[in-house]
């Protein structure tokens, strides 16, 4: 369903300084999370406690920006109370929306806080309109973030039949698997986005200089080995080099970032409500830079979509901070598949 809101810029804030950087550089909305397992970006030293979240909401609202709070992990069996408590805390903060994935939490939020907007997290794995409408009918979800697996034609078809606003990823590290459906990390480390809010957790990473090069391991499994002149990336296990039929290569995905600046007019035409920028683990300086470029691009696109073109300077600036210094349109672009 096309919405009244069009191409809102939704920016990541892993800390209060990052939130301010996003707001000051033109974010329409920022999304934050608590510094615990209720957060799918549960990185050491990042995210919000109650007092910094209050300060963040006050700052953003003072400058006309909205705040979404993500409780986007799946409550684990023995620990339901801490997730339920996080919904209560979120409601008390006065945020503009809560981002959820779990059926039980959606039910609880809809029953207890019916006036708090409920967005479906990308971790909810809704890749088709039957799934989206199920979340709408059962839990009153009014916006959903689509997993990064659909082509533009599939996005259009999905939006034509979905009864809610749609938010799409625009920029950031590319998850090549369907979000909410990947247990690769827990297979290797015992912790996954669904269970612990982490993928390839840093505490399981080891770097070792060997005669064959710099090796990166995840819980002992060799993820990659770098020659002296190679840029050594973080050993996310799906972005390592492996051997298939005696050929060694990035068998699943190269280190690369998603960047959809080139297709903004198409997203505007479809009635996409918002563009989400990934990166709550990133620095305030990164957030400021990405927000500035995307604000300029979205404004240019809305002003005159016919003559819009992604400016080379924007793309250069984004590539400098992209994973592996390269970008892709991902699944939006059919040949990527």
């Amino acid at each position: 369903m096309p919405s009244d809101a069009l191409l809102e810029l939704v920016c990541p804030a892993g800390s209060l300084p990052a939130l301010k950087a996003a707001v000051d550089n033109g974010a329409d909305c920022v999304y934050i999370g608590f510094s615990d397992q209720t957060n799918a970006r549960n990185f050491a030293g990042l995210n919000f406690d109650l007092s910094s979240a209050r300060a963040g909401v006050k700052y953003a609202h003072g400058k006309g920006a909205r705040v979404f709070l993500a409780l986007n992990t799946y409550p684990q069996a023995a620990d339901w109370e801490s997730w339920r408590g996080a919904v209560d805390k979120t409601a008390a903060l006065g945020v503009d929306a809560i981002i959820l994935a779990d059926f039980g939490l959606l039910r609880y939020a809809a029953d207890e806080y019916p006036d708090l907007r409920r967005h479906l997290s990308v971790q909810g794995s809704a890749t088709n309109y039957e799934a989206l409408n199920f979340y709408y009918e059962h839990f009153g979800v009014c916006r959903a973030v689509l997993p990064r697996v659909l082509s533009m034609a599939q996005v259009e078809q999905t939006m034509a039949h979905a009864r809610m606003e749609i938010e799409l990823f625009g920029f950031g590290s590319l998850c090549v698997m369907v979000e909410g459906r990947c247990a690769l990390s827990s297979y290797v480390t015992g912790e996954s986005p669904n269970t612990h809010g982490v993928c390839s957790p840093a505490k399981m990473v080891r770097w070792q200089h060997t005669a064959r090069g710099l090796e990166s391991r995840l819980n002992g499994v060799l993820i990659d080995r770098f020659a002296g002149d190679e840029h050594a990336g973080y050993p996310a296990l799906c972005k390592g080099r492996f051997i298939v039929n005696d050929e060694s290569y990035y068998a699943i995905e190269e280190p690369t970032s998603l960047n959809t600046l080139a297709v903004l007019p198409e997203m505007l035409r479809l009635g996409v409500a918002a563009i989400k920028i990934e990166g709550r683990q990133r620095s305030p300086a990164y957030v400021a830079q990405v927000t500035r470029v995307w604000r300029a691009a979205i404004d240019a696109c809305k002003r005159d979509p016919e003559s819009y073109a992604a400016q080379p300077a924007w793309l250069r600036e984004m590539d400098r901070i992209a994973e592996g210094q390269q970008h892709t349109l991902g699944a939006y672009h059919r040949p990527w598949k």
Binding site: N128, L184, Y187
Partner: protein
């Protein structure tokens, strides 16, 4: 406790599929899941073929469930989903939330392993939707299951007990990518890999198996040694995920271990040579999933 044969996750030739289910018909299993779960381009059998097989298996006394595709992206995916949901005869396994929408209140259904259920309120809510059976997510541990069981509210509990673990789905086809083919012109290369395409680390460790858009574990998850414990928990159904060879023999060994006519440790030992790679059971023991069976020390 009942024994189930899960859906064939690989792309096998039509003849291989037919032959496999001829054997299943006389194997000591109670429930058979049929249908294409992984890839919409796999057409060796179409729905009428699956329904023919379903009738044959039902005539052999098996409970038949039709499984739906786990990743639904296009209108044609949804069209196939609707045809399965509306089959009018057999129960359906929902492997996506979209399938839940079509099945709840309409058709007897099983909530498959790809629906995210990790906590008591979610499980109770799912039971309220009318699911007759719930298949636990593969990464769930016995401790978590213990917390969840009291909230199943009459649903049967099924556990993925043997097979390469389905770990992830992607928009991208990694088999086509390996052959430098586009997904839309994959030339059906999955037919060449009836147990998936092995992916090794650069040290030669067999790590994962590529199965089109699905990524599996290389190691075979095997809970046969935990059969007694699964029974004590009150688990109703154990699932064997088919592999290219030996699945019927593995089913026989499971049945013997479940019936008490064979010591579970002996059954596990007999299975060692029947799997494409070594065995693991880490998820069940709340460890990294790849932890080998019986390995107590893990970093």
């Amino acid at each position: 406790m009942k024994l189930a044969i899960g859906p064939v996750l690989y792309y096998w030739s039509r003849e291989a599929v037919w032959h496999f289910y001829e054997e299943v018909a006389t194997a000591p299993v109670d429930i058979v899941y049929l249908g294409e779960v992984v890839c919409s381009r796999r057409h060796e059998l179409r729905l009428p073929d699956w329904l023919d097989l379903a009738e044959d298996l039902a005539a052999s006394g098996k409970e038949v469930v039709l499984s739906t595709q786990a990743l639904l992206e296009s209108e044609s995916d949804l069209k196939r989903l609707r045809a399965v949901a509306d089959n009018g005869r057999f129960a359906v396994e929902a492997n996506d939330v979209g399938a839940l929408r079509l099945l709840a209140g309409q058709t007897a259904f099983v909530a498959g392993p790809h629906i995210n259920v990790y906590n008591p309120p979610t499980l109770a809510w799912l039971a309220g939707l009318g699911a007759k059976r719930w298949v636990m997510p593969v990464e769930m541990s016995r401790e978590a299951l213990r917390y969840l069981l009291p909230h199943a509210r009459g649903m049967e509990i099924e556990v993925f007990a043997h097979g390469r673990l389905p770990l992830a789905f992607s928009a991208r086809c990694f088999t086509a990518r390996h052959h430098n083919l586009s997904k839309d012109d994959c030339q059906f290369r999955c037919l060449d890999y009836p147990d998936g395409l092995p992916l090794r680390t650069r040290e030669g460790e067999r790590f994962l198996a590529i199965n089109g858009i699905q990524t599996q574990s290389a190691r075979v998850y095997n809970l046969v040694g935990s059969v007694a414990e699964l029974r004590v928990f009150g688990v109703d159904v154990l699932r064997i995920s088919p592999q290219a060879r030996h699945s019927i023999r593995i089913a026989g060994l499971f049945r013997a271990a479940m019936d008490g006519s064979l010591d579970p440790a002996a059954a596990a030992a007999e299975m060692e040579d029947l799997m494409p790679d070594g065995a693991c059971d880490g998820f069940w023991r709340n460890r990294p999933g790849m932890a080998p069976v019986g390995e107590e020390q893990w970093p």
